[in-house]
């Protein structure tokens, strides 16, 4: 049951097209994706529509989990999608999913946003807010409430938050998370451990 729940989420993006959800080897998925990307590089309408409808919701969710603000997340998502379009001709297939490249752009846009806010002296929305008061019973086997996860993530460091969102919400494998964050796979493993540990502490009411 548990395996079924995780299956298809770790290695494959949740919103992958139906064909990509089929029982084919991941490399086939990646190759199919690469074919789609090549058509998008030629600015084919149908390929662009497919990329947009696949990635817009995923980037929005990623941005919202990091920013906690609907409008800012929408603006950032639009910026990311335009950047993807402008840069898509530069993309070269190197064996990793295209989505790792897209999320790398999203991460860089997030960095730029933090930089702009810092320059303007604004509060970094990713900084921890008040201590979360969650009931210890939340460890039951059910999905987390989106508000809970949003609040809990605010208590993590930026890198921990990235790993949680990319690996468990977006379903990337370690190699892709490493690519997005510019870290080694070993570093991702230990970040993943620290992040889950911190999250466990926070969710049982013991925030830092």
């Amino acid at each position: 049951m548990y395996a079924n729940a995780l299956s298809g989420l770790i290695d494959k993006p949740r919103d992958a097209p139906a064909s990509a959800e089929a029982e084919s080897a991941p490399s086939d998925d990646i190759l199919r994706e690469w074919e789609l990307v090549q058509r998008a590089q030629a600015l084919e309408d149908s390929a662009l529509a497919s990329l947009y409808s696949t990635f817009y919701p995923r980037i929005y969710s990623y941005a919202f989990l990091h920013l906690g603000d609907v409008q800012t997340a929408e603006d950032l998502t639009s910026e990311v999608m335009l950047k993807v379009l402008e840069s898509i001709k530069k993309y070269r297939f190197k064996g990793l999913p295209f989505s790792a490249w897209v999320f790398r752009i999203a991460r860089n846009k997030l960095i730029d946003l933090h930089r702009r806010r810092k320059r303007r002296g604004e509060i970094d929305l990713t900084q921890p807010l008040a201590t979360m008061q969650a009931s210890p019973q939340v460890m039951a086997e059910r999905a987390l409430d989106r508000g809970q996860i949003q609040l809990a993530l605010k208590h993590l460091t930026e890198e921990q938050r990235q790993v949680i969102v990319l690996k468990f919400v977006e379903g990337f494998d370690n190699a892709s998370v490493a690519r997005v964050l510019g870290r080694s796979e070993g570093a991702i493993k230990s970040l993943q451990h620290r992040a889950l540990n911190s999250l466990r502490r926070i969710m049982s009411g013991g925030a830092r």
Binding site: A3, L6, Y60, S61, N108, L144, G171, H193, L199, R200
Partner: protein
């Protein structure tokens, strides 16, 4: 078999994903069952959490912009960042193309769209932009288009820099005029708050870009530069309803960047690290200075040499390690990151790239810590000569001789008997003591057109441990000539760090400076790092003490400078995100402390970590208190 809990957890996540049951995985690690179960269940719950869904209307509006951009790209237009003129754009583009096509021939206009300011077709490009403006009839749309066009100039400047070309005046002039027109339209229209904010932010970003570009301008562009910086600065004031204004004459001799402690002299005039700077209504940033406060100041330098602060930023003493510099050869290069000296550094679209990135290229990267990430603020390389060869850095410590002037575009300073040129590109760090005659300073310089051009001058604090009775460092050898200066360091004694370029048993050339070779010492291998203490006798530098020579690994020398953020138990130094390992052969001058500035020469070791060869701690006492570390 996995060892640490992190590895076990990862292995179980993988196994569960492959279809294994939770209990089977736990059974393999009986000692870790409780921890493992909780973490795996949490991972599962995370993966079950439904995604936040975007608002369909917003997603659809974004799709229209996405399509419009794709259409632009099909027409051959260069992508522009964040343009949001909605339905008006296709009309404007069509009108522009039609009108100019009639006037000049469609092929020329089409060909001009991607050109840079050094092209003869650039005027056609600007003219076609003007036509688009004529066909934009509402003021807000016009202001937005002007801001887009001004930002297009920024992109052109970035591209010129990337190609290693000088910045001509025409692009600065167009940037300035479009910005000024946009601000004129928007002034007094509070209902256009979003556009006003954009104008403000864009002007700030453009000014920040231009402030670092004096050395990249073509000779004839200085007047346009002064006007452009003044306009961008004033745009920020005007969009905030602040009455002050900077005049182009205030910038006639470029800009200067000073970091130091603030002391008020008369009202509105402050000494920043000993340099007189005026603050007035046009100064932006942390303008309510307190005596003794540490600040970063970017000042405009007028033709008369007077300095007017454009921006003031109080140094945040609790975040000392947020900026640092890494120099060396690029190990890896991709579109969005580079690896240098073992450090992985993100490149974003706001990174100021002053060269084409290539593997093996020698560069200096200013790195910012943003949300725990190492992000390149700027990447620079050698300005002249073969692209991969950078002139070796010379680091020279001595006493400042003669009057220190900051009044001219190019100033000559003499430090420890050595002449250096101080240009608008030279940073002055006077945090530890005020800049003045007879104080000890450290100059980081490189040869450019046969002149030693200072990149950075760091005023050093008096170090009570460096008197004539102390062993080891500068001034320690107690020779018979000369007295001591105010710091207890002997006059005429200098410290040199640099790369051995050529030499024999009599003369060595170190990063472009000749020294008499030390006695009874084997000549180092070319490319080695040499650190020594010498005494100036007339035109000659006579080595008094060879501190060390290091033969770097095949991947050459790298430098890291910044503030020590953390010292690990094994002595590893953390400078920003850079980790520098100390080995038994590392030579350390001074006492490393959290909060002290440090300059490190290192070389990549076999495990791709930066191994320190020579560590020079510049501050006997930390400049900033220890910052808390997380995790």
């Amino acid at each position: 078999m996995a060892g640490s809990l992190a590895s076990i957890l990862d292995e179980c996540l993988d196994a569960l994903n492959q279809g294994e049951r939770l209990e089977d995985c736990l059974a393999r690690y009986p000692g870790q069952v409780e921890d493992l179960r909780t973490l795996l269940l949490l991972a599962r719950r995370l993966s079950l959490t439904p995604r936040h869904q975007p608002r369909p209307a917003v997603q659809n509006a974004g799709w229209q912009r996405f399509l419009a951009r794709a259409e632009d790209m099909r027409l051959g237009g260069k992508p522009r960042p964040s343009i949001n003129i909605g339905w008006k754009r296709p009309l404007a583009i069509a009108a522009a193309l039609v009108l100019v096509a009639v006037a000049t021939g469609g092929g020329t206009v089409y060909a001009s769209q991607g050109v840079l300011p050094d092209s003869p077709l650039y005027r056609v490009k600007l003219a076609s932009e003007d036509v688009r403006l004529w066909f934009t009839f509402d003021d807000a749309g016009k202001a937005e288009l002007l801001l887009d066009q001004s930002r297009e100039r920024t992109d052109e400047v970035m591209e010129l820099l990337y190609d290693g070309k000088p910045i001509p005046g025409n692009v600065l002039s167009s940037l300035r005029s479009r910005n000024a027109r946009a601000v004129r339209i928007l002034e007094g229209r509070p209902e256009e708050s979003a556009l006003l904010q954009r104008a403000h932010e864009q002007s700030a970003a453009q000014e920040s870009l231009l402030l670092g570009l004096w050395g990249d301008l073509s000779q004839s562009a200085h007047d346009e530069y002064a006007e452009a910086v003044a306009t961008l600065h004033n745009a920020q004031l005007r969009t905030d309803d602040v009455p002050g204004a900077v005049m182009p004459e205030d910038l006639a001799a470029g800009v200067i960047n000073i970091t130091g402690s603030a002391q008020e002299t008369v009202e509105g005039v402050w000494l920043i690290g000993g340099v007189e700077v005026r603050l007035d209504a046009s100064t932006l940033g942390d303008v309510n200075l307190q005596t003794g406060q540490a600040v970063d100041v970017v000042a405009a330098r007028g033709a008369n040499g007077r300095l007017l602060a454009l921006t003031v930023a109080a140094t945040d003493r609790h975040e000392p390690q947020q900026q640092y510099v890494v120099s060396g050869a690029l190990e890896e290069v991709s579109n969005d990151e580079v690896v240098i000296a073992g450090q992985r550094i993100a490149i974003t679209e706001n990174t100021l790239l002053k060269l084409r990135l290539q593997r093996g290229q020698a560069v200096e990267i200013k790195v910012e810590e943003i949300s725990g990430e190492a992000v390149a603020f700027s990447v620079e390389g050698p300005k002249t000569g073969p692209q991969k060869a950078a002139p070796p850095l010379l680091v020279y410590e001595g006493v400042i001789e003669g009057t220190v002037s900051t009044g001219e575009v190019i100033n000559e300073w003499v430090v420890g008997g050595q002449r250096f040129l101080v240009t608008p590109g030279t940073e002055i760090d006077a945090r530890a003591a005020a800049l003045a005659k007879n104080v000890r300073a450290r100059v980081e310089a490189a040869i450019d057109k046969d002149e030693l051009v200072a990149r950075r001058v760091v005023v050093l604090a008096a170090d009570p441990s460096q008197d004539a009775t102390e062993e080891g460092d500068v001034g320690a050898d107690g020779t018979e000539e000369g007295g001591t200066d105010g710091d207890g360091t002997e006059e005429g004694v200098v410290s040199v760090e640099g790369v051995f370029e050529a030499g024999d048993g009599e003369r060595w050339t170190i990063s472009g400076v000749e020294v008499d070779a030390p006695l009874d010492v084997e000549t180092p291998e070319v490319g080695s790092l040499v650190t020594l203490v010498a005494r100036r006798k007339g035109d000659l530098l006579v080595t008094e003490k060879l501190l060390a020579t290091f033969r770097p690994s095949g991947r050459g020398l790298a430098q890291v400078r910044g503030i020590i953020g953390k010292i690990e138990e094994d002595g590893t130094l953390q400078v920003g995100s850079a980790r520098v390992e100390l080995g038994v052969e590392s030579v350390v001058k001074g006492q490393p402390q959290t909060g002290s500035r440090v300059f490190i020469w290192g070389s990549l070791n076999d495990s791709d970590a930066l191994q320190a060869l020579y560590v020079n701690v510049l501050d006997p006492k930390p400049l900033a208190p220890e910052s808390g570390s997380e995790d």
